[in-house]
Every structure is written in structure tokens, then in C-alpha cells.
Amino acid sequence: MPEAESRLRPDASGVGLETDGVKFVLAGYDESAVEQALLLRQAVPGSKVGVVALGPPSRTDELLRAALALGCDSASAVEAGVPPLADPIAVALALAEGIRARGSTDLLLFGKQAGDDEEGLVGPAVAAALGIPFVGYVVDLRFDASTGRFAFRRSSERGEERWEAPRPLAVGLQQAWNDPRTATLPAILRSRKAPIARLAAAPAPAGRPASVASAFALPPPRQGAKMIEYDAPSQAAEKLVKVLREEAKVFP
């Protein structure tokens, strides 16, 4: 995803994001997923962490190497010719094919939402394509070796629920409950030479339902705040309530 501080603008076609001068980084949500995987590996002896990304090498390799530098055991890139800001379901079906080709997996971890499109469609769709149950908005994921089950909390609009699940399981993580580690310089140098497995996915069949980006627009800029002038705090409060009621029409 683009760095939070980058200035966003539409590209010349008006459909996509102008990527010139925008730095792409490992999405925060994905960073948190890598951290969670590494913590589970520490807790479950013999387990391994693999990282998978979809896209052309020019877009995936830097991110995959960043994950390897953080300590992932292996990295795979699925090359399916799906462009950026592409159809999330096509992305999911291609990823599922690549994940199936890697062999069986006990746990699939996804960042909460792909940081660049916020759709949150990819994780549940990959799991559905693989026939694995999916639970999203998960915090505090643990594995109990004595029962062989995962235990976690799910954060919903109504608060936090507790869940348990056997393997295999697909999980969409809620970010920000952990502090992702940072890579050491020797690990970064090693990751530059680490192999990346290339998995090919069949192109989506013609006529498959598709989601196609057709325009990208910035919301109309806000005019800047209308400042409330006042002599006493009570007057500021009265004036604000009045404009919220009569002008903005939001007062509940």
C-alpha cells in the first residue's frame, strides 16, 4: 500500500492511483500478520512460517524480502498477471490456487484488509475457495498444543467475543494489538539473496464475473473550518449547537 504520508492523486487515465513518487510499503495490517505468525512459531516447536504475495516480481519481491528479513522461513510469489487495484475475487482465486500448490497449511493469516483497497474480500474468498473456515477481526490468537486448537478473540461492533477452532483455520487479523518487530541489518542483507518460489496461477476464465475499477477521485476538499468566535465558553457552546442544528443539520 502507499505510505500514509504520501500525497495521493489520480493517474492520467483517471482510473488508478498515480504511483509515480509514491512509496509502496508492506501494509501495516500485513506487518501485524507476519508478527503474529512469528510469535506462533516460537510457541509451537517445529512449525514454519511461509509468506505468499500476488503480483509481478517488481511489486512482490521487495515486500516478500521484507517479510523474510523479519524471519519468515519461505516466500512464494503467485504470478497471475492481475494488475494493482484489481478484482479482489480474481486475486483471491489465484492466491488460493498458489496456496493449494504449496501443500497443506494449518493456519492461513491475512492482514485485516489489504491496506490499499480496504475491501477485506481476499481473505474470506481464499478460505472459501479452499474450503477452510474463516474468522475475521481476530485479536490475541493463540494455539493450545495440548488440545490442538486455536483460541482467539474476535472484535465486533458489539465488543469482543471469544472463539476456539481446530485446524485448519483461516484468520483475518485486526491490527495494532502487537508491535511488529523490525528487521536487523544482517537479516535484511541475507533476505536479498534468499530464494523466492514462483507459482503460476491459471488466468481467470473469460466471462467470469469481474470487478473493474472505472474511476478514482479525491473527495471534494473541505472548505476549512468555520471558526466559532465567542467571548465566554457558554457562548461558544450555544453558537456551535445552533450551527450544528440549523446549518449542518446533524444535531441528534
Binding site: G120, P124, A127, V135, G136, W163, A210, A225
Partner: protein, 328 residues
Amino acid sequence: MSDAVLVVGEVEDDRLAPATLEAVGVARQLAGAGGTVVGFLAGSHARRLAEEFARLGVGRVRVAADPRFDPAPPASLAPAVAAAAAGVGAATILLAGTTFGRELTGALAVAFRATAANGVTEVERVSGGWRVTRPIFGGRANERRSLEGERAVVSLRPHAFPPAEGVAVPAQIEPVGAVEIPAALFGPTRTAPAVASGSSGPSLADASVVVAGGRGLRSADDFHLVEELASALGGAVGASRAVTDAGWRPQTLQVGQTGKAVSPQLYIAVGISGAIQHLVGMSSSRVIVAINSDPSAPIFRVADYGIVGDLFAIVPALTAEVRRVRGA
């Protein structure tokens, strides 16, 4: 164009969730004059809750009364919903874009062999498919998408559409019928229901009013000023990262890139300077009010109304004024 549209009912506190009512309104528009809107409900209470659809004028409700849905992970409902949609000949499935709906949408796209979009603020039927608009990058931009094909699954951003009103009709409950659901999808089990974290009142993601506090509050003890204003407005409490990092309030209240993204009708930022980290989580709110002692704080650039001053004097005065006009 007329169509059959299936609306997936979400249950909250043993009732249809408010966001489902918004989906019913949109479904009517999409279905068109000659089209039909059909409800869907899962779980052992589904038959009783079908009456709530009927009260909105949606009489036909497909029901998957399997107690294994009490509750199942949202995504595990996908095979039953897809079967219901196919059974009524629906081309469009609509859901509320809550955590429930957003998780289900992706799985449903695969089960229903459909295209999908999550969290849209506009949706219309066009020749050859649908056209949707959705905020992206935390509301910093809008994206238009064409959903091409015969079938689409769309979840709607909460609060983006008015709730449906309708004339009650008799409920006509139809079982979904035999659906083969892989046993693995019922593997995850909920061992404890939701426990509200943080404050009372509406939840942060659902609330139409959010009052959020920042570093300007100076201490955990003074955060109650924010909570009292939220309570007077019937809104939810939010916090900036500075507040949750300092441990004044739990992380679940954090609004921003590393916390929750909210888009209420009214967002009041109290003592929040407006770091980009925070702005991406709230800048798509309809009306933003900023109260801050620093006139050059970046929050005033995204706010609609601003008050420069001492929040320790302004906020209690505002709470009192709100209580007065609301007659409380």
C-alpha cells in the same frame, strides 16, 4: 430494470440490525418497480425474526433454521445464502457492511460465483452489471467500480443510506432447503459472546455521533469530559493514538490508521491535533467539529467547525448546552 434482490439479515440483540434496514431500502431501489426483495435469515431464531422483515414490507424470507448457525463464523453462512439466492433467482445479494457482512461478502462471492464489493456508499444497476462507489485509503479518495457479470454481492457502508420504512405484510417463510455445508465450516465455535469494551452507549463503529479525545486532555482523569459530552449526545467515545498508547483508555477506542475507521454523521475531536494517522480514520465523517487550544492544529483543516480555546472550559459548557437543548 427489475430484479430479485436477496437481503442477508444480520441479528443484533435478538433483533434485525439497523444496518440491515438500510440494506432493505437499497434493495427496493435496485429491484425496481417489477422486482422483488427477499430476506434471508440463519439460525434457530430465524423464523421469529422473519416477522421483522415482514413489518418492513419484505414478506418473503428464506430461512436456514440450522442451529449450527447459533452462531457460526459469518463466512460459514455463504453456502446457505448462495443457495437461497439461487432458489429465488436473485442476481444481487445485499448485506450491511458491518464486520459480519464484510466477512461474509468475500466468501459469498466464491459460493455464489459472483463479483463483489465491500463497504459501498453508492450502488446502481446498469446494463451488464452494477456500478458502485466506495471510499478507499481511509476516506482519502473514492473509487468507482463496475461490477460486470450476472451476479453480484455488495455490502453497504453503515450510515451511508437511510433505513427502510414500509408497510407491514404477512410473513411468507420459505426454508432454504438442503444445502451441503462442509463440516469444517462449523469447526470454529464461539465460547463467549461479545463483552462491550470501554464505554457504554453505542459502539464506535455503529454510532452516528462520535466524540474523541486526544493528548490535549492532559491526563486519564480528565478524559471523563469527553465521555460526558458523548453521553449527552447519545454518541460513542473515541480516542487518539496518544491516549491509547498512554493507557488512558483501551486500544479498542482508538480511531485512526492503526485503530478503527469511523464515518459518523457528527465527529467531535477534542484536544486532538490531527496527525495524518488519526485523520485517515475519521476524515470521511459527514460533519467534523474540532476543539483545540492551538489555532494552527492540522485538525482544523479537515474540520467543518472549529473552536479555538481551553477545552477544559469549552467542553463542559458544550455538554451543559447539549443537555439543555435536548431537555435532559
